[in-house]
Structure formats: structure tokens, C-alpha cells
Symmetry: C2
Subunit: 478 residues, 2 copies
């Protein structure tokens, strides 16, 4: 191909809702995932990866707010004229996997998965069209012990990440209890999904917004209007009373689901997970349509500031629930299942906020300057010797002069540069220059002394002793 003429030049930019991730965050997230994996493995869960594409009919339609074209999902037609979709979560693909491999799996089947998922939704601040989830699921058991287990695992995982007890809580509820309340309050069938989604927003938007969403409707800050459920004042007040209560007492008695919630509480008590870590909360709803029983939410309870500078609780970093019909869709027989999904980006943001991502990062590389272009093979040899000793090292690869090379090393955060001009080469020595110490010294001495005083941060060593000398200098800096 030839270079495009000026006027056809494409613009280098990303589509809205997508972003690049750079080294520090990659390292932090990787380390975080390693901790989660360790906890989940301890619980007996096995890793699993499904591909990014599934047949659209296999994924089903369970997303909230599918009111845009393409319905929240990225879909294309394949060469056989069948619709494929990019996964919008990690649960629907798991259901397909289990249904497809049912006979060969030891059941109940515990698995965990991490990976990117895609939503074809309106992007906004902190709202991306590609984001990462970390899921754990148990398929093939209706036992509340399976629901309790994933909640305990989530609590353990948050603590393993360094989030202290008291700074998080795993809240649980049951869709069956919510169904019972809807029956009792005579919520019309056609607005029950709207009712659930309104209550789901209680934590994030507050009671006034939920009141509007349960009534005539609500206009958000961007001016978009969401149609309400059109309930009576009495129904709205009772709904909010229910959602804001914190116990199983009163109106809940006798609902289907109450027994399950009580059984979960007994399991938490037996395993030593108190109300400070895991507790019942009737406002937990979860937005996805496929939940059928227990639902969970992991929330960070410490304060941070919102976009307007107001203190707010950090909020949800994950959740999940029981989805007994998702595998049954394929198999036509009941296959109960439950799972917990962590929002990786939210969780990473929380760890950063708490200062828990303190760079485990590798040290920046030593930079070998190129003082004499004719000697590149020799500089290459010096660099290779450092690398062979396990020292992170680069030879400067550009064409710039010494000043620009020093600036490059500085921008790379290099702890040391290795310098060898014709004179040093003659004498078979190299100069090791400590950039950080040099800069600090230069700042300290200000203008009272000559720049050359900062040469104290520079040592000359025989070329043959390059590796031990660099090692020693790096040790000193730790």
C-alpha cells in the first residue's frame, strides 16, 4: 500500500465508550484478578472461558433498558444469515456452556470467569461500552447454601483485596420476596419490571427519584425523560417503606422466599459471617431480567466524592443472584443456578481510592545511551548483558543527541543510565549516572553550585564490572 494522500487521512480517535488502558492500570488490575482467582480457587471454583460471540438466540434478551435499536447488544449476521451477538455479560454464555456440556460436567458445577463484556448503550462519564467482569457461578443446585457460598466468597475476596471489614457489606434479598410484596401491594403485572428497576435505583438516586419513577416519571440531569410506573401515592409510599426497611419482620412474614433468606442467615452465622459483613436488605433488586430467587449486591460503604464534589458512599462493585431458568431455556428441564459478578473497573477504582494498588510495578528500565552511532553493536552487547542478568534494560533506539537521550531516560523513569563515549570506550569503562539522585541534588544545590557538582551522582566502573555495578546501584535505590 502507498501512503494515503493528505485529504484521505483517517483521524486517530476511538469510538465513544471505549478507552485505552496503560501500564500502571494493567498491572494493578492483573494483580487484583490474581487475588480474586486465589480466593475463588480456594472455594473449589474452576476457571472457564467462553468466546466473545454467541448466537443471539442463545444469549437471550435480559438486559435492562433495551429501548435503543440493536437493543443494548452488538449484533451481526454471519455468512449463514444467522445473528451473532457479542456477550453482554458472563452469565448467559455460562448457561449455554453448561447446557451444551451438561452430561460431562461433575455437578453441582462451580466455575469462575473473567473477561470483557459489551453493551451497545449510550456511553457517559464512567459508563463504557466495553468493560470487564469477574464472575463465579454454581450450576445444578437449588440449595440456599450455594447462594450463601458465593456471598461469603465475595466478602472474603473483598477482604483479600485489602478492603477492611466495615468498609464493605454484601447485601442479599430474594426476588420471591419482591414478588410477594408486589402481590400484596397489587402492582399491575405490566409495570412490575418498571417497579423492580425503580427500587433498584434507590441506593444510587435516592427516595425522591424512586418516588417519581414509581409515579408519573422522571427527567434526569441530561433532560432524558423516563416513563414512570403510574402507581398510586399509597402504593408508592408502601413500596418505599418496604425497600427502606432492613429486617425480615412485619410485612414479609409468610412470603415465599423468606424461608430461603432465613436459611442463608443461618449459614452465614454458622460460618462466622456476621451482619457487619453480610446482611439482608429488601432494597436489593438487581436490574437483569433473568433472576428468579436470591439476589445479592456487594457495596463499598466508605465515602468518596461525586462529580459535584459531594461526599457519597462508593457504592456497588458487584452483585448477582439465582437464575434457575437460564439453563432450562436450552434443556427444557430445571437446572437451578446462582452466581456473583464483580465489576472489575469499579473495584479497581475503589482500590486506587483506598491506596491499595501501590505499584508492585517492576522498576523502570536502565537506559544504555548511544554516544557513538558506529558502536551500536557494542551498546547492544552491554544491554544484552544486563538483560541476561535479569536487569530491565533498554538501548536508546532513536537518532537524537545526548541531551534528548537523557530527557528520554528521564521520561521513562529510568533509575540509571549507562554512558560510554569514545574516551570511556578507549579506557574500557562506563559511567553509571543515577538520574533521580542527580535531579534531587541539582534541586538542592539550586544555583549556588555548578551543575558539575551533580556529577557526584555519577560513578565510573570498568566495563567488565557493568552487571555487578548496576545491580549494586539498583539495590541501593530500593
Amino acid at each position: 500500500m502507498g501512503r494515503s494522500p493528505q485529504q484521505e487521512r483517517p483521524k486517530a480517535r476511538l469510538p465513544k465508550g471505549f478507552r485505552d488502558v496503560e501500564a500502571e492500570e494493567i498491572r494493578g488490575v492483573k494483580e487484583m484478578l490474581r487475588v480474586l482467582e486465589r480466593v475463588y480457587e480456594t472455594y473449589g471454583f474452576e476457571a472457564l472461558e467462553t468466546p466473545f460471540f454467541e448466537f443471539s438466540d442463545a444469549l437471550g434478551k435480559f438486559l435492562p433498558d433495551q429501548d435503543r435499536p440493536n437493543e443494548g447488544v452488538f449484533s451481526i449476521k454471519d455468512e449463514d444469515d444467522q445473528w451473532l451477538s457479542l456477550r453482554y455479560d458472563l452469565t448467559a454464555p455460562l448457561a449455554r456452556y453448561v447446557a451444551e456440556n451438561y452430561e460431562g460436567l461433575a455437578k453441582p458445577f462451580r466455575s469462575y470467569r473473567s473477561g470483557w463484556v459489551f453493551r451497545n448503550e449510550k456511553p457517559g462519564p464512567g459508563r463504557f461500552r466495553q468493560f470487564m467482569q469477574f464472575d463465579a457461578d454454581t450450576v445444578g443446585t437449588a440449595s440456599p447454601a450455594a447462594d450463601a457460598e458465593v456471598c461469603m466468597m465475595a466478602a472474603d475476596a473483598l477482604e483479600a483485596l485489602g478492603i477492611e471489614r466495615g468498609n464493605y457489606v454484601v447485601k442479599f434479598n430474594s426476588r420471591k420476596i419482591l414478588d410477594g410484596v408486589q402481590d400484596q401491594l397489587k402492582i399491575p403485572l405490566e409495570v412490575r419490571t418498571t417497579w423492580l428497576r425503580a427500587l433498584d435505583k434507590l441506593e444510587r438516586l435516592g427516595p425522591q427519584a424512586v418516588r417519581e419513577l414509581l409515579g408519573k416519571g422522571r427527567k434526569d440531569e441530561s433532560g432524558d425523560f423516563t416513563k414512570g410506573a403510574g402507581l398510586t401515592d399509597e402504593q408508592i409510599t408502601q413500596s418505599l417503606n418496604f425497600a427502606e426497611s432492613r429486617t425480615l419482620k412485619g410485612m414479609l412474614t409468610g412470603f415465599e422466599g423468606t424461608a430461603e433468606v432465613e436459611e442463608m442467615r443461618r449459614l452465614f452465622d454458622a460460618a462466622g459471617y456476621g451482619e457487619d459483613r453480610i446482611r439482608f436488605d429488601p432494597s436489593v433488586v438487581r436490574g437483569l431480567d433473568y433472576y428468579t430467587g436470591a439476589v445479592f449486591e456487594a457495596e463499598l460503604t466508605f465515602e468518596t466524592v461525586d462529580d459535584a464534589g459531594q461526599p457519597v458512599r462508593f457504592g456497588s462493585v458487584g452483585g448477582g443472584g439465582r437464575y434457575d431458568d437460564l439453563v432450562a431455556r436450552f434443556r427444557g428441564e430445571a437446572v437451578p443456578a446462582t452466581g456473583f459478578s464483580m465489576g472489575v473497573s469499579r473495584l479497581y477504582a475503589a482500590l486506587r481510592h483506598l491506596g491499595r494498588t501501590a505499584s508492585l510495578g517492576s522498576l523502570a528500565p536502565v537506559v544504555v545511551l548511544v554516544m557513538d552511532r558506529g558502536q551500536v553493536p557494542h551498546y547492544q552487547q552491554l544491554t544484552s548483558r544486563l538483560r541476561a542478568a535479569g536487569i530491565r534494560a533498554e538501548m536508546y533506539l532513536g537518532t537524537a543527541g545526548m541531551k534528548a537521550q537523557m530527557k528520554y531516560a528521564d521520561r521513562r523513569g529510568a533509575p540509571l543510565v549507562v554512558i560510554q563515549g569514545p574516551d570511556e570506550r578507549e579506557r574500557k569503562v562506563v559511567q553509571l549516572k543515577d538520574l533521580a539522585a542527580g535531579a534531587a541534588m541539582a534541586r538542592q544545590i539550586d544555583s549556588r553550585e555548578e551543575w558539575r557538582s551533580a556529577r557526584a551522582a555519577q560513578v565510573e566502573v570498568p566495563e567488565a564490572e557493568l552487571v555487578p555495578a548496576v545491580k549494586a546501584a539498583l539495590e541501593q535505590r530500593r
Copy 2:
């Protein structure tokens, strides 16, 4: 949602060209990537991740064989009527990233990336539409030292993975040399791409197939016909003579690119990388359209068997080259760049073949049986105690009886099961049963002894000593 009626039930299956990945492979690939990352970090490369979607015009069209609709790439239109595509490699997105962030980057800019890429191509055996690559690139330098560096890094990476010297070779060539040969042989401009792609297949298909592809054309095993370059017999013979030679001598003298190749050889020599590890090979072409200079190929040279049971060399596991125009497309000024891409799945298959993926895997979990449904909270407590001590443990979550539970534990590969019936509970003890030892003993004693002899593989310990007893039993099994 309600359960779908029988006739609407979706079939649980994956689209062609996609596959699920299970625990053992996930662990193996993860460990392999960790080794690659360590080597690349030592070379001073920094991690980077770009998103899966890019604007289609930003990716450009550089794939070989784009003769199907959708042209090899998965594309969709976004809500603003602009075409987005899933990345088909990790190089084109890097070019977009560098062009977009040019001013802020310390140059030359070294980065590495691993991730899934997508090709909307005809799937076949071992040919997937989603696969993983691991790339390293240096942007902002035309120096052959940058090309040499990624080749040395690839060689080091293969050895770090346990592929012994002699079992691999990194081969290099230059597109500029290929251009010179085309000029000399008077290959018509309109068939030069066909010429390159034909030579690219020399290693895989052999000289007779390449002869056909350079001549009238070739019908492959599936019956598909590929149109040939229509060259004369003389041109074909000379082309093959060139591609099958192994030196820079003879017809190559004086071509542009020869000096670069010679400079690379000097750098390899200086850094101690002999011809056994990295060598010039004029048959290296690489299929992608964006290469402009040096091209590389990493090949595993040990033998394996093909689908027909014939011994063949394992072949290519990666490659790359210099692509000086890819960033220039965006910026309109020259930004030279070079990179190396590893095929993660091919490489993992090679390591498996060499027995280099010996499961570092975590031990399978201890399974706590549920002998008394009323005591689930107590079994949960036993399980939690094991986990808190860092022991991988599960409580059985199904509803089946003891025999099925033992079978489950066996399928999970559990080293131990913990058993506590009403009698043991009364006496505050548990039974620890070593499944593997029990099975081995049962095999040994055959039918001569009673099954109960195998009880020797079972010990009774006080419940209070559960954790140390399990630890001791697991230690013994190592």
C-alpha cells in the same frame, strides 16, 4: 421472563470458529503469558491494552485474502452511522494509539500487548475466528537495532518457555530485498501481492504448490481454486531459486535492504545470537500488506505429525516486521515502527507437545460430604475452617446420596473427602478418606479381599483437629 415453550427452545451451541477454553488450558496459557511478559519487561517494553472496537477507517484494510463479504473483519454500524470493526490484529490499533497520543509518549516507544483478535474468515480445523496474539512493538525509530531487538526478544522468550536451542529459529528477511528481486525478475506490478503470498506459502505447502500459485493457479484439497500470478517458467524458476537460497550472496548484492539485513546480522553477532538462533532466510515474506522493510518469522523446527499422520516440522508460531507507513497514515509524517507478534494458541500447542505445560495447577479441592441435610450449616462451618487455612475446599451442594457424592468427589479429582454422619457428629470426630489411595488399594487387592479392607485409606480424627489433619494428609500426597 417465563420459560420458553418446548418448540422455541434455543439450541445450546457455539457459532463455527469459536470455542470454549477450560481450566487446564487457561492455567497453562496464563503461565505462558506471564513468562513472555517477564522477558518483554526485561527488554524495557511497557504493557498497553487497546479496546476491541476501532473505527473501521482507523484499522485500514491490510488483511490477506479479503475476498469474502465483510472482508475478513467483523464490522457494525454505530448509532451515528459510522462503521466500527473488531480488531483483526494488535498492530493496527497500536498505530492508532500512537498517532492519537503521539506528543505525550517518550519515543522510541516500546510496548507489548496480549489479547483476542477476530477474523471473519472461513473457519477450519485449527483455524478459529477468535484467537489470541501477544505483540511487542517499537515505534519511532528506523534503526535496524529495533528490528534486531524484537528478534532477539522473541528468541529469548522461546527459550524462557523451555523450548531448547535447536528446536526453534527466528528467521528474518526484508521486503525491500523482495522488492529488488521483483524488479530484477520483472514481475508485473499487478501480480506482486500474489507473488509475495505465493512465496509466503513455501514452508507450509512446498515448492510444487508455490510453482502453481506463481503460474496458472492451484486447486486446494477442498477443491477451492486460487488464481495464479501467470508468470513465465523462467520467472517461476528464478523466484523459487531465490526463495530456497539461504544466503545474502549472488543475486542479492546491491539491493536496497541488503545493508539493513547485514547490520542486523552484526547486531546479532555482537549480542551473541548465532545462526542457530536467528538467521537470514529469503523465503520469509509475511502475509499482511502493511510491512515495508524487515520481516521476521519464529519457527519451531522439531517434528510433529500432521492430520494425515505424516511427520512435519511444527512450523511458525509468530512473526512480524517493520511497518513504517501505518502511523504515518494518521499523521502524514513518517513514523517508523517495527514489531513481533506471537500466536498464543500455536505456541501453547507447541508447549503441550513438548510436555512443557506440566500442570502447575492447584490441587483439586477437598470435598466435605453432606451426610445429614439438617446439618448443612455445620458442614458449611467445617468447609469454611479449611478455606480459612488456605486449603482448597468445597461442601457438596447437591441433593444426592453418599454414593453419588463420592462419585462427584472422584470426578472433581478430590484428594480427600471429609465425612461426618450422625454417629461421628455425636462423638465430635470426622472421617478423612483418601480417594486416590482408596482406589489404588481397591485395584490392588482386586477381589481377593473385602471392600472394607480399603478402609485403611480412611482415618478418624477429632473435629477440633480437622485443619491440621487435612494439612498433614495433603502433605503426604505431594
